[in-house]
Assembly symmetry: C2
Homo-oligomer: 341 residues x 2
DNA sequence: CTAGTTTATGCATACGTATGCACGATCGTC
DNA sequence: GACGATCGTGCATACGTATGCATAAACTAG
């Protein structure tokens, strides 16, 4: 049915091995026969069977990318860059959209150990998860993007989330806010943990320690921002600012504020994290802490490829990018308590 | 290095064939030896090499999904459902994020013909594109989701975009609008073409023929909605309503309106298409034409799988889902021309 | 002109699994 | 107790490609 290299061999009057060599550009094959083979291959529309090739070479030219919720706008943005960079390197992208929090590592494992991919990019590792370690130990190159995992001895590309949290805390405190709320991400993510730690440190350094009653934890979703913002604004007195662990959460909070008729930033300041594309949309225009996502994603792929092609030293590398405050329109000094006369 | 079925065979004291049969659940293998094999496999952490398996069975258990711009929120939503359904069926998802408009079908072709996937879901075919046809002709099952391609004899899952356009036109005209603008999608997409055709028909039927000076065409992006909305509102007189070929375009238009200080819906009505998740976010709350995207995506995968498993009749099927108007807060009757005294 | 070298090609095999076929063992039946 | 049926297992091979090794042909050098 399908056309194999043997068919080409027959058509070109050479052996199968010569076909293989000719098409792969082996210098030892004569120019004349190479042309004959290429011609025959094109005429018969031959395309090599990648499976058979991979079986021999033990390389699939495929990279797996794990995200936890592709519906969250944060990931498509990452995925876009990842995919482009992976393609550019001559690899394909296999997508795994796994709720890592549900602990279904088992679903992934067989697929990978089945040598279906050459390497993995984890864009959403959770702290408890041992998947990265398992894969790595199975000899599969792995790079962690955006999140850390404590034990794993793997390549790492993240931004300085602790410092990002500090920037956030400093900024809000310096604006004059004192009743500052926090909507954190999942406890088992390094991003949320580090951002919160930095945030707390900065607040404390300014004598504005985080009131535990103003702390909420969600799952980095729009829904969690929406729901917790409503919840927080019901307090008496309500917070004058909310630090959201995520831009998407900030969008949810903004939505809630609009729903409640709370004016942003006059009555409530909202601060996000990531600076995804949408954060700059006019309706949001959210002040946020920027991570250089595109550069991070690119580097992650490059590091993985390097390791795949065997040019990388064995020791795992960790690259940390700086974060940066981006001022937009969702933050302002708090309103005067008493109001104007 | 890696553990093969031969290692298991040795460990369990049977032949390689028996291992294969035992693990695949062949009934002809004795229960006792089956257990012995399974035990050995687990003990040695054996995972079958999928490449070798695929080479024999000629099935990779992998489905390719093509989207044109994963950054566009429309696609992640589709992708989420597609991926889930594909996983559920025991398949993997290979992602292709190709700007089909750039005609780089050539990048795709070798990968597929290389039997790297069992079938393809095209979520963003363009009218001119012959890729679907090519793949289909190469014996690779293909299903078109969301968009049509004229010539191709392949399975098709779309919604009634023509009728959706009619709903839009009818709704705006019946609200009393007469200066109605259109921001269309790319001319080479069936969705945009059909929506526009239905829209025009409905307007004409109400004596409110589309003014060509109020027509713009973009690329379904936020950016295009933003830019064209600003452009349209500079006209004198400006339109009182804009039908956007897409929710994302509508978001862009809303953004522009906010930027310009134009009140929505008081000064300007905005109507979208798709009803993606974000459309219901409070900041947008955009009136739109709903397509049952989740159901469409699920069906597309099911149809493909059916064809893969060979239970489907050879004739291509086309399923068309109905659309539906969803009223939210971005549409209202036009303001009185003269204003109130 | 011969021996040694280079060059171009083919032969054979391997990758790891699935499976048709054959064969030995076990069972039931009369 | 012998014979056919059934069952369980192993042998051999195939999938399509890549590659080490051998070899034939062409060439170089003395």
């Amino acid at each position: 049915m399908a056309i194999t290299s043997r068919d080409i061999a027959k058509a070109a009057g050479v052996s199968q091995s010569t076909v293989s060599r000719a098409l792969r550009g082996d210098t030892r094959v004569a120019e004349e026969t190479r042309l004959r083979v290429v011609e025959a291959a094109e005429r018969l529309r031959y395309t090599p069977n990648l499976l058979a090739r991979s079986l021999i070479t033990n390389r699939t030219k495929t990279i797996g990318v794990v995200v936890s919720d592709i519906t969250n706008p944060f990931y498509p943005e990452l995925l876009d860059v990842l995919h482009a960079e992976i393609n550019l390197s001559g690899y394909r992208t296999v997508l795994f959209n796994e709720r890592t929090d549900e602990g279904n590592t088992d679903t992934l494992l067989p697929q990978l150990a089945g040598r279906a991919v050459d390497g993995m990019v984890f864009a959403s590792a959770t702290l408890g998860s041992r998947s990265a370690e398992i894969f790595s130990r199975a000899g599969l190159p792995v790079v962690l993007l955006n999140r850390r995992v404590d034990e794993a001895q793997v390549d790492l590309v993240i931004s300085d989330n602790y410092n990002g949290g500090q920037l956030a805390g400093r900024f809000l405190a310096d604006l004059g806010h004192r009743r500052i709320a926090l909507i954190a991400g999942p406890a088992n993510t390094s991003t949320s943990r580090d951002r919160e730690a930095g945030f707390r440190e900065a607040l404390e350094a300014r004598g504005a320690q985080l009131d535990e009653r103003l702390r909420r934890a969600g799952d980095y979703s729009h829904q969690s921002g929406y729901q917790w913002c409503i919840d927080l604004m019901r307090l008496d007195p309500p917070p004058t600012a909310i630090f959201c662990a995520n831009d998407v959460v900030a969008f949810g909070a903004l939505d809630a504020a609009k729903r409640l008729g709370v004016r942003v930033p006059e009555d409530l300041s909202i601060l996000g994290f990531d600076d995804i594309e949408m954060a700059s949309w006019e309706v949001f225009s959210v002040t946020t802490i920027r991570q250089p996502l595109a550069r991070m994603a690119k580097l992650a792929v490059r590091m993985l490829i390097e390791r795949l092609e065997g040019q990388a030293e064995p020791e795992p590398r960790a690259v940390v990018f700086p974060t940066q405050l981006v001022r937009r329109e969702t933050t302002a000094p708090p309103a005067q308590e008493g109001g104007t006369p």
